[in-house]
């Protein structure tokens, strides 16, 4: 399809696009409107207020940021997500390098086995993970969460990064080998700098794993308030009686909108990755 469509076709296209655009944006837009509405009701019984900002107040944001432990939750989430990012980069890059650069018995078996193991949903193994973390004294601490998230991102990121390492020509490392470069130097000095774009994806995936998870965070760190992470804590707000919807909407804006922006940034990487077969990278 290289010639532009006819006039009627273009109009149909634009109508579909505008409708789908409204559907795609409305839930987010609705929440932004609700966050600036006075009072604690997400509903407004005035129709205009559902689509246009009639009144705007920063009250909900002020209450959320100054009078609730919300900033602490966000800080906890940031700490956990950043630690997951760093740890997963360290673990994943070294494993991916080994799987890409060394030929050893059981290499392809190991890669397939990893995918097979990943088929066991994290939610089902959660009770066992809870027990084992309790045994090591990590239950209810952020460290247990960080370890669990890092392992959660392991398989996909290792596959992805291994695929990227495979595309880097080995000639440079061979040149290094002749000059007496060992595997560790060749990994740190040659392969890693070349794999920078793929590292960015690994980092983003690690960060999002820590930032946006609900199930693990709500069962591994159930209490106290000062330890909670942003997403489960915000969800917890909504299950109280007399839910402060306005504050929930304000918190939603602070937590979800940066996530969406991060994802939009991730999009162009995903686009090139998906066509190559999902995890092949």
């Amino acid at each position: 399809m290289i010639s532009p469509p006819g006039r009627l076709m273009r109009i149909v296209q634009m109508v579909i696009l505008v409708l789908m655009g409204i559907v795609a944006l409305y839930p987010i837009y609705f929440t932004i409107l609700a966050s600036g509405r006075p009072g604690q009701s997400l509903y407004t019984f005035n129709l205009r207020g559902m689509f246009f900002p009639t009144t705007w107040t920063w009250d909900n944001f002020r209450v959320m940021l100054l009078e609730t432990p919300f900033p602490v939750w966000v800080k906890n989430s940031l700490v956990v997500a950043s630690a997951t990012t760093v740890l997963s980069i360290v673990v994943v890059t070294s494993a991916a390098f080994a799987f890409s650069r060394f030929s050893f018995r059981g290499r392809s078996f190991g890669l397939v086995l990893m995918l097979g193991l990943q088929a066991y949903p994290g939610l089902l193994s959660l009770s066992a993970i809870t027990m084992i973390l309790t045994a090591f004294g990590l239950y209810g601490s952020h460290w247990g969460l960080i370890l669990a998230y890092t392992t959660g991102t392991l398989v996909f990121s290792t596959w992805n990064l291994k695929g990227y390492f495979d595309t880097i020509p080995i000639d440079l490392e061979e040149a290094g080998m002749i000059d007496g470069c060992g595997p560790v130097q060749s990994f740190l000095l040659i392969a890693l700098p070349l794999a920078r774009p793929a590292l960015a994806i690994t980092a983003l995936l690690g960060f999002l794993a820590g930032w946006s998870d609900f199930v693990f965070a709500s069962s591994l760190v159930p209490a106290p308030d000062s330890m909670k992470l942003a997403v489960p804590a915000l969800y917890g707000l909504s299950s109280n009686l007399g839910v402060p919807w306005g504050q929930f909407a304000a918190g939603f804006c602070i937590v979800v909108i940066p996530t969406i922006i991060l994802f939009l940034y991730l999009q162009r990487f995903l686009e090139s990755g998906l066509t190559l077969g999902g995890v092949k990278g």
């Binding site: 987010i28 799987f99 066992a128 084992i132 609900f214 979800v256």
Partner: protein
């Protein structure tokens, strides 16, 4: 060449992969083993703790490890291995292997047979030089006969199958959800991708970003779904809009059928961008020469779509379809935030939106039925494991690994 060969090489490989192996053993392999072991015991809220002197307990149960200091031991009766060994599995699968269970499943498969026959007939026509019937007619006939059979026998067979026990009630609903959700998502994603990629469209990047937003929001599905839940509440946005036209909207989430539809709607909203992006990528990799040649020959838009675009993007889309099917099967956050698995007919009966993961979550964390819940998990794992391996073979994703 230090470390590239011989003994040093083995050590180097071990050093590079050690953290990964440890992580997988602790967080993937061990839970798998423990769950499988638990599925043979009567571990539940009445038998919460192991008897450390019996069986494999002192090896596999964290409660029995010597460095596990603060164990709340001595509450309740310790759990034991059940007699007979597969009792939990029998409880879960229930009456599936009795006459009515098998009969109902066979009936449902029989109802779907015409579609399969249509597929085979179409394939045969494809191979032959001339076709006596157009492909769309064959498919249409197959689908109509199937729907007719389903309309006649489907409901009774479905209800009988659901009645055989929790397992079928939950798994059948989940499969129905996947079967409905994936094609809808695919079609919407395809249409949007075709529009966004159409030449000369103003604001291409803008539309691409806007239409992608739902998928970005799906990473925090648990929060975004709460907003969707408000829309469908009794006094929610939808019912307010309806009240303008003097229609009293129903209590959407209290109706089993509506609730199921809403879950599909919200999940389609979350996931059509995935297909859109995947198809956009595949379309952009098709060379323009093909279209130029077709246009010189006077091909219409629909001809180009059917004979060039769709066949050429198919290989890239198979993995995407398989991956979304597997993720849709495991969907949790959306349902949890919107219906929590309800509405249900009564206590203990899985609700109309109680999909596999929601059921497992409820059984484990709310009812503490560890024994039967882990038996359920094991069956699901065998299913997902084979699906993953099959998809690997089908899409040849492992090609890179063996090369």
């Amino acid at each position: 060449m230090v470390g590239w060969s011989g003994r040093r090489k083995a050590l180097t490989i071990l050093a590079f992969t050690f953290p990964t192996i440890i992580g997988l053993v602790i967080f993937n392999v061990y839970p798998l083993l423990l769950n499988t072991y638990t599925s043979f015991t009567n571990n539940n809220k009445f038998h919460p703790y192991p008897d450390c002197s019996a069986g494999l307990n002192n090896i596999i149960e964290p409660y029995c490890w010597s460095f596990f200091t603060n164990a709340p031991k001595g509450l309740g009766i310790p759990f034991t291995i059940v007699e007979p060994l597969f009792k939990n599995y029998q409880t879960i699968l229930g009456g599936l292997f009795t006459a009515p269970g098998v009969l109902s499943i066979l009936t449902l498969i029989g109802c779907l047979l015409p579609i399969l026959i249509a597929y085979q007939v179409d394939r045969r026509f494809e191979r032959g030089l001339e076709r006596s019937l157009p492909s769309s007619l064959v498919w249409l006939a197959g689908i109509i006969v199937s729907l007719l059979l389903l309309w006649l026998f489907g409901a009774t067979a479905w209800n009988k199958m659901i009645d055989t026990g929790d397992f079928m009630a939950v798994v059948a609903k989940t499969i129905l959800f996947v079967v409905l959700r994936v094609p809808i998502t695919f079609v919407i994603g395809l249409v949007m991708a075709l529009i966004v990629s159409s030449p000369g469209l103003p604001g291409k990047t803008f539309w691409r970003v806007v239409l992608f937003i739902p998928w970005a929001a799906s990473s925090v599905a648990i929060l975004t779904s709460l907003v969707w839940q408000f829309f469908f509440r009794e006094n929610g946005t939808i019912n307010q809009l309806l009240s303008i036209f003097n229609i009293k909207g129903p209590v959407w989430l209290a109706d089993p059928l509506y609730a199921f539809g809403i879950i599909i709607l919200v999940d389609v909203w979350y996931s059509y961008p995935f297909f859109m992006i995947a198809i956009l990528g595949a379309i952009s990799s098709i060379s323009n020469d093909v279209y130029e040649a077709a246009e010189i020959d006077g091909a219409t838009y629909m001809q180009e779509l059917r004979n060039i675009t769709l066949p050429l993007i198919r290989p890239a889309l198979l993995p995407a379809i398989v991956l979304t099917s597997i993720t849709a099967f495991q969907m949790f956050g959306t349902v949890w935030a919107i219906t929590q698995g309800g509405p249900t007919k009564g206590a203990g009966v899985p609700g109309s939106t109680e999909f596999v993961m929601v059921y497992a979550y409820k059984q484990i964390f709310q009812l503490n039925n560890y024994g039967t819940a882990t038996a359920f998990a094991t069956i699901i794992f065998i299913f997902l494991f084979s699906a993953t391996l099959y998809s690997l073979r089908m899409t040849q994703m492992t090609k890179g690994a063996t090369a």
